[in-house]
Symmetry: D3
Subunit: 139 residues, 6 copies
Amino acid sequence: MDDTTGEMLGYTMETLLQAGALDVSFTPIYMKKNRPAIKLEVISEEDKADQLQKLILTETSTIGLRLRKAQRLVMKRKNLPVETEFGIISVKEARWEQIVKYAPEYEDCRKAAREHGVSLAEVYRKAEEACYQTEEGKK
Amino acid sequence: MDDTTGEMLGYTMETLLQAGALDVSFTPIYMKKNRPAIKLEVISEEDKADQLQKLILTETSTIGLRLRKAQRLVMKRKNLPVETEFGIISVKEARWEQIVKYAPEYEDCRKAAREHGVSLAEVYRKAEEACYQTEEGKK
Amino acid sequence: MDDTTGEMLGYTMETLLQAGALDVSFTPIYMKKNRPAIKLEVISEEDKADQLQKLILTETSTIGLRLRKAQRLVMKRKNLPVETEFGIISVKEARWEQIVKYAPEYEDCRKAAREHGVSLAEVYRKAEEACYQTEEGKK
Amino acid sequence: MDDTTGEMLGYTMETLLQAGALDVSFTPIYMKKNRPAIKLEVISEEDKADQLQKLILTETSTIGLRLRKAQRLVMKRKNLPVETEFGIISVKEARWEQIVKYAPEYEDCRKAAREHGVSLAEVYRKAEEACYQTEEGKK
Amino acid sequence: MDDTTGEMLGYTMETLLQAGALDVSFTPIYMKKNRPAIKLEVISEEDKADQLQKLILTETSTIGLRLRKAQRLVMKRKNLPVETEFGIISVKEARWEQIVKYAPEYEDCRKAAREHGVSLAEVYRKAEEACYQTEEGKK
Amino acid sequence: MDDTTGEMLGYTMETLLQAGALDVSFTPIYMKKNRPAIKLEVISEEDKADQLQKLILTETSTIGLRLRKAQRLVMKRKNLPVETEFGIISVKEARWEQIVKYAPEYEDCRKAAREHGVSLAEVYRKAEEACYQTEEGKK
């Protein structure tokens, strides 16, 4: 898309996510006639596809869309609340075969950082610490 | 492609479009050994594919290409000439189900901007105004 | 910065803007050892510089900052409320020497688009129309 | 700039170069509210600065510009026509202290490639060959 | 991926290439909540896919992967050693139908440039010269 | 630079870092005639500037360079070796006014990850844990 503004695209991303898109991203590209442009990519479940297509055609200037079915491998996710000095933080556990990893929930961390006047990095660190201690305690 | 220069790529884009490619774009990427590179993407009708593949293999340094059939959803396009103080400007109407949108034709606008010594934005604005007045007059 | 995550950077942008930065942007770059990285640029008034520097050093992993005084040319801005079928929309007028241009206020347009169930583009169009009619009426 | 389209930017680049800018480039960046944007950079001689500033403010949506004097180190350039099987090609010689390098003139190469139905790379190669043979012959 | 650092990604690229991936690249993208992110793309033969998937899930923070079979058109490659004043340099010949092109082997050129204290461009040039002389001698 | 290949640029980055540049980065940009290009930025101490300029002019196709003195704010750095189950890892401590942060040394972590067959993320985590325990122990 070389004739939709960044403002319109920011609005479109917000609208697509509210409407249930799983993932929305912008990739900077270069098109003919020296036009810097953006490739908009949207991942969604099949049943939402029609609605999201309409959204894109309405809110952006694009004349066409490419549609592609994708095979996805997704790790099993579980929510684990952990206690930290900043309160309870949700941690997302992801498992696939032997692989396990943990990631603190962004919105919880952000809220805690603002409330306690500490850096976001510090909240993440404490949440990860608590989480790994819990998990290692279980073993 | 990490061993074709920007000059060669600019020339390749021009050549591909002249040969009938529907769309050509460059995406900046990063490859091994600290090489900034470009991903060249070409969309074309199936019957032009062979010719465009030869073009890419001849004009760039690439050793291989990935080929993929894509399902496309394209809005119905129609040309509407509108009268403005800068002369006749073509406006492209695009329709799909309930969605209708208009976009002034770039080349006409550019020519008018240069001839009348006004900004391209002003020509676009007048063309859109005239276009929406025409369409709303019709209702 | 090649060792701060996108999540942390998104949080940092939000925090810098809240703290009074005039402008914050991310530029994708490539660094040594095949590291994709981000260049964070912040524009601010001189009196806010210290506070924003502290913020960057606290919230990101960066060890250093480059500081530069910049000479800026800024157009004179004025707010013009215009009436549209979607309610009152603020339009920003910008003037410098002979150059005048108008841009509808994003937040007003967004609110109107959501309330009236129309595309953001349509709200922008009506706001621009109303604005230019007002201005041309004045002449 | 997050509210100028790619089409407008392509037109602006063309206009700036015609007006005498030495160099014009677009850098993809990311701004607040999820807006993909473009940073427009223009290099020019000081005496052209005012005219180019007006152009940018007229043709794009930007409200302000940053101005910076830059110290430049430029190699001494000379034009060397060389004979190739595709006709005469201009080659640019660049010298600075002990460093000498040659680059075939793009427009000549492009013309020759089209006229003779060969790849641009082949024309470049022959022009470089002829050029280095000439230079080495001189030694 | 918006929560893996550039350092981790650089390490991941190295590990994937060691494990037999044919191609690994990073594309800068922009995701929700103002997060600059990276799209990691890996091309591999089918039999290596499982192993590389495990690697990506282990070394990065990603929760899921998209998998896609691709049809590839690859030119026939052959290694041609050529003699230059800097020693023997391998040149890769690539053929497909009528198209033939040559590219000096990077690692050989790099080694020669360092050993002989000349620019990489000069080594490439001599290697290409030698290569085309050989090929044209054969005709 | 729109006429230097990614291979040459990767080599140039390596050479500049070996020659003592503090920082080298590539920024993808777009230039005239549809050329995707790269902006090469090098930060160095003043006494190395001449040598690095020569390197750039020799190894790349660029005809000119922009030179700029920059004012830098750099945190005080110290090396702290910490003991982990993977051996001794160096951790970099950075201090400025009230701000303190720690970052495990990449090369040590990488070596440990390979030797012990664990993910790089796990080594980083253990090193950070050990580091913060040490620091908090000191308080």
